[in-house]
C-alpha cells in the first residue's frame, strides 16, 4: 500500500495558512467570552472563578476548561497583559486577536494527532477511506466557520473526543473512558454522548463480552475509580468550598428558551414552522391563536419563540424524547458491542439530542457530523445517509456569520468542501453487502439540488424583493426548516442502516 497524499500534515499546513489569514475576520461575542475567561482565571483565585460577573459572559464551562484558559493566560501575560484585566470589557487589541486566534490554530493540533491515530488504528484494507475521512474532518467547514471565524475551541474538544473514540477501538477501553471523562470536565455538551459510552464500556469492559451475566469486578473497580478520580480532581475543590450548586447553576442554565437565538435545524424548528404556517389557516380550522406569540415569532431573530397555535413544549418533554430516542440505538449496542456499532450509537445519541433537545445551538451539529464522518465510508448506504447531513448541517451554520465580508468565505469554503468530499466519498465508498432498501438516493439528490436556489434566495433575492427590514425572519426560517428536513431525513436513513447492518 502506497503512502496517501496529501498527508494530514500537508493539509494542516495549507489550511493553517488560510486560517492565519483569517485573523482580521469577523469574530462573534465568543471571542470576548474567551478573553474574559482568560482574565478571570488569570487574575482571580480559583474559588472566585464561578462567582465573578463583571462581564455578562460569565464562566459557564466546567473546571478543566477554566484551567485550560488559566494555562493559556500564562502565555498571554507576555503578549499583552491588558487582555487579562477583568474590567477591560470588549478589549481586542491586535496582540489579543493574534494571540487568541493563534491558540485556536495551535490547540487544533490535538485533532490532527487524534486523526493520525485513527488512521493508524484502521486495518490496512480501509486505510485510504480512513485517510479521506480524516481529511474531511480536519478541513471541515463546521470547524472552519465556528472556530476560525466565529471563534471557539471545537477543534481541540473534538480532538479529545476522537482520541477517546480511537482508544476505544484499540485494546485500551479504560483509557478511552478516562479521556472521555476528562472531556466532560472540559465541556459538558458531551454529556449527550455519555449514554453510548456508558453502555459500551459497561458491556465490553465491565461485563464479559461473551456473557453479560458475568461481571468483571476488577475492571469495574478500575474504571469506576479512574472516572470518579477525574471528576474529583475537576469538581472536588468546588465541593470542598461548598460551591457545587453555584457551578450547577452556571453550567445548566435552564431559564433559556426552547429554541436558541437562531433556529437550529431540529424538530422544534419544523414545529415552529408548522405553527407559523397554521396561523393564516387558524380561523378556518377553528383554532385559537395566542396573540402575544405572534409578535415574538415574527421577530425570529433574538429571544425564545413561543407558539401561536400548537401547544407549548416544556423542557421535561424534550428530555423524555431525547432519552427515549437515545435508548433505541443503545439496545443494539448492548446486543452487538463492536466498535463500528459504538460509533454509530454515538452518532445516533448526537442525533437524538440535537433533534429533540432543549435550547439546542446550531453549532451542536458537529456532535453528529464528526462521529458520523468516522464511519460514513463504511459502505454506500452509510454514505447516502451522510450526504444530506453534510449539506444541511453545514448550510445551517451560515447564519452564524452575517457580515458581508465573510459571505464569500463561508459559501465558497463550504461549497468547495462539499464538492470535493462528496465526490471523493462517492468514489471510495464500497458497495454495500446488502442492497439499498429505500429510495433515499433519489430523495437526497432532489434535496441537494434545492440547496442552491435556496441559498441564492436567502442571501440575495430576499433582500432584493423585501428589503432588509421586512420579513427578515423568513430566510432564517426557510433555511432552518430546510436544514431540519435534511438532518431529520438523514437521521431516519441512518437509523435504518444502523439497525439493518
Amino acid at each position: 500500500m502506497a503512502e496517501l497524499y496529501p498527508s494530514l500534515a500537508q493539509c494542516a499546513i495549507v489550511a493553517g495558512a488560510l486560517k492565519v489569514l483569517l485573523f482580521p475576520a469577523y469574530k462573534s461575542t465568543d471571542f470576548e467570552v474567551h478573553r474574559n475567561w482568560l482574565a478571570i482565571t488569570n487574575s482571580l483565585p480559583v474559588n472566585e472563578w464561578y462567582y465573578e460577573k463583571t462581564s455578562e459572559w460569565t464562566l459557564d464551562y466546567p473546571p478543566f476548561f477554566a484551567v485550560f484558559e488559566w494555562l493559556m493566560s500564562q502565555a498571554a501575560a507576555y503578549v499583552d497583559p491588558a487582555m487579562l484585566v477583568v474590567k477591560n470589557l470588549g478589549y481586542d487589541s491586535w496582540e489579543t486577536i493574534y494571540f487568541q486566534r493563534a491558540t485556536v490554530i495551535l490547540t487544533e493540533l490535538v485533532l490532527v494527532y487524534a486523526l493520525s491515530l485513527f488512521i493508524k488504528s484502521t486495518p490496512l484494507a480501509n486505510k485510504s477511506a480512513a485517510h479521506i475521512a480524516s481529511l474531511s474532518i480536519l478541513l471541515s467547514p463546521g470547524l472552519f466557520i465556528i472556530d476560525h471565524i466565529h471563534f471557539q475551541y471545537n477543534g481541540f474538544m473534538y480532538g479529545i473526543l476522537i482520541l477517546s473514540i480511537v482508544l476505544a477501538r484499540r485494546q485500551s477501553k479504560l483509557l478511552s473512558g478516562i479521556v472521555f471523562a476528562a472531556l466532560l470536565c472540559f465541556k459538558h455538551i458531551y454529556l449527550y454522548l455519555s449514554l453510548a459510552y456508558f453502555v459500551y464500556l459497561l458491556r465490553v469492559y465491565c461485563l464479559d463480552p461473551k456473557n453479560f451475566l458475568r461481571p468483571r469486578f476488577f475492571n469495574t473497580i478500575k474504571l469506576g475509580v479512574c472516572i470518579l478520580g477525574i471528576f474529583a480532581i475537576a469538581f472536588g475543590p468546588f465541593v470542598q468550598w461548598g460551591q457545587i450548586l453555584q457551578l450547577k447553576d452556571r453550567l445548566f442554565p435552564f431559564s433559556r428558551g426552547l429554541c436558541h437565538a437562531y433556529w437550529a435545524p431540529n424538530v422544534w424548528a419544523l414545529y415552529s414552522f408548522t405553527d407559523r404556517a397554521l396561523i393564516p389557516l387558524a380561523p378556518r380550522l377553528g383554532l385559537t391563536v395566542h396573540q402575544e406569540a405572534l409578535n415574538s415569532v415574527t421577530r425570529g431573530l433574538v429571544g425564545d419563540s413561543s407558539f401561536a397555535i400548537l401547544p407549548e413544549v416544556t423542557s421535561q418533554q424534550t428530555f423524555v424524547l431525547t432519552f427515549l430516542f437515545q435508548l433505541v440505538p443503545l439496545v443494539k449496542l448492548w446486543r452487538k458491542p463492536d466498535w463500528d456499532t459504538f460509533v454509530g450509537a454515538i452518532t445516533l445519541c448526537g442525533y437524538a439530542s440535537f433533534l429533540f433537545g432543549w435550547h439546542v445551538h446550531e453549532k451542536a451539529i458537529l456532535l453528529i457530523i464528526i462521529p458520523f464522518s468516522l464511519i460514513a465510508l463504511k459502505d454506500r448506504r452509510y454514505f447516502s445517509a451522510f450526504r444530506p447531513l453534510a449539506v444541511a448541517g453545514h448550510v445551517s451554520l451560515f447564519p452564524l456569520l452575517f457580515t458581508s465580508a465573510e459571505f464569500p468565505l463561508k459559501t465558497v469554503y463550504t461549497v468547495f468542501w462539499l464538492i470535493l468530499f462528496l465526490f471523493v466519498f462517492d468514489r471510495v465508498a464500497p458497495v454495500p453487502e446488502r442492497p439499498r432498501i429505500f429510495v433515499f438516493d433519489r430523495l437526497s439528490l432532489l434535496y441537494l439540488t434545492i440547496a442552491i436556489p435556496l441559498i441564492v434566495y436567502c442571501s440575495l433575492l430576499h433582500q432584493l424583493i423585501f428589503g432588509f427590514e421586512r420579513l427578515q425572519f423568513l430566510p432564517l426560517m426557510f433555511m432552518s426548516s430546510y436544514s431540519a428536513l435534511g438532518v431529520l431525513g438523514s437521521w431516519i436513513g441512518f437509523m435504518v442502516v444502523y439497525f439493518t447492518a
Partner: protein
C-alpha cells in the same frame, strides 16, 4: 486502447507522454515500486493523476485560490486611515467617483493634484462601470467631492469584490486558456498543467499587490496573457486587440511592447515577407487604438467640452506642436483631449525614480548621487540603457518569431525595463514575473532547474515589496502567502529539495538539475533575505541613515533582478538554439527520406 474504427475520422487526441509526470519529474520512485510526489503541490493534486475530469479539478482549484485571495483582502489596504492623500485604494475609488459624476472631457482635467486620473482610457471606462454599479448599491460611496477619503467596511468589501470579479473575468480565464494551449504545444501532460495552474494562480506578489495593497494589475496582465494565448492560437489580429487593451488599461504594459512589436513584425518578414499580413496587423492595431480613444474624443467635440478646453491650460505636448489652431474649433478640442490624456499617462516631468526601487538607477544613486546631473541627460542615459538591454532579445525574437520563445523574451525585456527605465515602481516587478511564472507550465517547467529559478525570482520579487507592504500592515499576508508558495513548490526557506541532486550523471533527467554555481547563488540570496528580515526586525538603523534597511533591500533586489535578467537572456538563447537544431534535424530527415 482500442484502435479507432476506420468508418469515421478519429478524434484528435492530445499527444500524451508516457507517464503523467515524466517530462517534469513530478513523481519520484522511492524503491519497491513505491512512488512519491516531488514537492507538496504535487501531493495535493496526487489523486488527480489520471481519470479525473477537468470539470472537477478546475472549479476546485479556482475556489481554493479564490479563498486565499479573499482572505488576503480582509487585511489592510494602501492608505487606510492616512489622510489627507490616502493611497491607491483612494485613487481607484476617486476615479470611480469622477468618472461617474463628470462628463468625459473633464476626466483628465478635474482637480489633478488630488489623484487626477493618470491611467489610460480603459481604466477610466472600467472605473466608470464599477462606479455606476457601486452607486446603485450605495450612492454615498462615490458622491462627488463629498466622498473623498471615505472609509467604510462595506465600501471595502465592494472594492475588494470588484478586484476579485475583474480578475476572475479576465486574468483567470486568460491564464486557463493560455495554459491549455501552451501545454498542448509543448506536449505536457494535463496533470502537470493543473499543477502549474495552481502555482501560477497562487503567485504571491500578484495577490499581495492586487488584493492586499489594492490595484487592478491582473486586468492588464490578463489582457496580456489573452494576447499571448491568441498568438499561440495563430490569431495575430486578436493578439493585437488584446495587447492594445492591456496598454489601454495600464501604460505599464509598454514593458511588453518591444517584444510584441518585434514578434509581430517578425512573423510578417520571416520565413518570407508577407505584406498583406503586415498591413492587416497595423490596420487592426490602429483601429483598436481608435476604438479605445473614440468615446473620449467624441465626448470632446461637444460645445461645453470645447469651452472647457479653450479656457484650460494647454497640455505641454500641444504647446510644442508646430500647428496653431483656433481654440474653439473641433480639431483643437480633439487634439487637446488626446494630448492631455497622453500627458497625464506619461509623466515625463517626474524624476528618474521616486521611492527606493530595486533597479539600476537606485542602486547607482546609493553610491554616486545622480541628481548632480541634468534631468534630460539622465533621461537620455536611461533610454540608452533600456534600449541596450532589450535590443538583443528583441533582435532574437524578430529573427526567430516563434511563439515558444515569447515567454523568455518577454521576461528578459521586462527585466530590462524594470532595471533601466524611467519612473519604475516596485510594483512593476509583477510584469517580468508574469512570463517567468507562466513558464512553469512549459516542457520541463516544473523541473528542479526551472522551478528553482522562477521560485527564486518570485520570492525575491515579493521580498523587495516588503517595505511597501510593511507600511500598509500587510506583513502577515506577506509572510503567509510567500512562505505558502515556497512550501507548495518545495523551495527555500522551507525546503532544499530543488537543490539536492538525486539523479546519477547517466540519468536522462540530470540536465534539469541546477549547476553548482546557481545553487550557491540562490542559497546565498535566500540567506541574505532571511538575515535582512532578522536585521530589519531587531536592529534599528543608525540615526544618520534612517533608510538603511530599505536601501539595502533595494540594492540586493537590484543585484538579484540583474541576475534574473541574465538568466532569462541565457534561457532565450539556449531555447532558440534548441529550436534551430531541432528544425535542422527535421530538415535532414526529410531530405534523407
Amino acid at each position: 486502447m482500442a484502435p479507432p474504427t476506420p468508418s469515421h475520422r478519429p478524434r484528435k487526441k492530445r499527444k500524451t507522454p508516457t507517464a503523467p509526470g515524466s517530462n517534469n519529474n513530478l513523481i519520484i520512485d522511492i524503491g519497491d515500486g513505491k512512488q512519491s510526489p516531488a514537492f507538496p503541490l504535487v501531493s495535493f493534486l496526487w489523486a488527480a493523476r489520471a481519470g479525473i475530469s477537468q470539470w472537477l479539478i478546475l472549479p476546485l482549484t479556482l475556489m481554493a485560490v479564490g479563498l486565499f485571495r479573499w482572505a488576503v483582502s480582509l487585511w489592510g489596504y494602501s492608505g487606510f486611515q492616512v489622510p489627507p492623500m490616502h493611497g491607491d485604494f483612494e485613487a481607484q475609488r476617486h476615479w470611480m467617483e469622477i468618472t461617474t459624476h463628470l462628463p468625459m472631457p473633464k476626466w483628465y482635467l478635474y482637480d489633478l493634484p488630488y489623484w487626477g486620473l493618470d491611467y489610460p482610457p480603459l481604466t477610466a471606462y472600467h472605473s466608470w462601470l464599477l462606479g455606476k454599479i457601486g452607486t446603485a448599491i450605495e450612492p454615498a460611496w462615490f458622491a462627488l467631492d463629498e466622498s473623498r477619503g471615505f472609509e467604510h467596511p462595506d465600501l471595502k468589501v465592494y472594492m475588494r469584490a470588484t478586484v476579485v470579479v475583474s480578475e476572475y473575468l479576465i486574468y483567470v480565464p486568460a491564464v486557463v486558456n493560455f495554459l491549455r494551449r501552451y501545454t498542448r504545444m509543448h506536449g505536457v501532460h494535463a496533470w502537470s498543467a493543473s499543477i502549474a495552474l495552481v502555482a501560477i494562480l497562487l503567485q504571491p506578489a500578484t495577490i499581495l499587490i492586487d488584493h492586499g495593497h489594492f490595484q487592478y494589475n491582473t486586468v492588464m496582465l490578463g489582457l496580456m496573457v489573452a494576447s499571448l494565448d491568441a498568438i499561440m492560437a495563430g490569431r495575430m489580429l486578436w493578439a493585437c486587440i488584446f495587447f492594445v487593451g492591456a496598454l489601454g488599461f495600464k501604460q505599464m504594459a509598454l514593458y511588453y511592447a518591444p517584444v510584441m512589436f518585434a514578434y509581430l513584425l517578425g512573423v510578417c518578414v520571416f520565413p518570407q515577407i508577407n505584406i498583406p499580413r503586415l498591413i492587416n496587423i497595423s490596420l487592426i492595431t490602429a483601429a483598436a487604438f481608435a476604438l479605445l480613444f473614440a468615446p473620449l474624443l467624441l465626448g470632446a467635440t461637444t460645445i461645453e467640452a470645447r469651452k472647457d478646453f479653450a479656457s484650460a491650460p494647454e497640455p505641454p505636448l500641444l504647446q510644442s506642436a508646430p500647428i496653431a489652431l483656433d481654440k474653439n474649433s473641433v480639431a483643437y478640442a480633439v487634439l487637446f483631449q488626446l494630448t492631455q490624456t497622453v500627458h497625464r499617462i506619461f509623466p515625463f516631468a517626474r524624476g528618474l525614480f521616486e521611492d527606493k526601487v530595486a533597479n539600476a538607477w537606485c542602486a547607482i544613486h546609493t553610491f554616486y548621487k545622480l541628481h548632480h546631473f541634468d534631468t534630460s541627460l539622465l533621461q537620455r542615459a536611461s533610454l540608452c540603457a533600456t534600449l541596450g538591454s532589450i535590443i538583443v532579445p528583441c533582435g532574437i525574437i524578430f529573427r526567430h518569431p516563434r511563439a515558444s520563445l515569447l515567454l523568455p523574451a518577454l521576461s528578459c525585456v521586462s527585466w530590462g525595463f524594470f532595471l533601466f527605465s524611467f519612473q519604475v515602481h516596485e510594483k512593476s516587478v509583477l510584469l517580468p514575473l508574469l512570463p517567468m511564472t507562466l513558464s512553469l507550465a512549459g516542457d520541463g517547467g516544473l523541473s528542479k532547474e526551472n522551478r528553482a529559478w522562477v521560485g527564486w525570482a518570485n520570492i525575491l520579487g515579493s521580498w523587495t515589496m516588503f517595505p511597501l507592504l510593511k507600511r500598509e500592515e500587510l506583513c502577515m499576508p506577506y509572510a503567509v502567502m510567500t512562505l505558502l508558495w515556497a512550501y507548495l513548490l518545495g523551495l527555500p526557506p522551507l525546503s532544499l529539495e530543488t537543490y539536492r541532486s538525486r539523479s546519477s550523471p547517466e540519468d536522462p533527467s540530470s540536465h534539469f538539475e541546477l549547476n553548482i554555481f546557481a545553487k550557491l547563488l540562490h542559497i546565498l540570496f535566500y540567506i541574505v533575505m532571511i538575515a535582512w528580515h532578522v536585521g530589519e526586525a531587531f536592529v534599528p538603523p543608525p540615526p544618520g541613515k534612517p533608510d538603511l534597511w530599505v536601501v539595502l533591500n533595494a540594492l540586493i533586489g537590484a543585484g538579484g533582478f540583474g541576475i534574473a535578467y541574465l538568466w532569462c537572456m541565457w534561457k532565450l538563447v539556449t531555447q532558440c538554439r534548441q529550436i534551430d537544431r531541432r528544425g535542422a534535424e527535421e530538415e535532414n530527415r526529410k531530405k534523407n527520406q
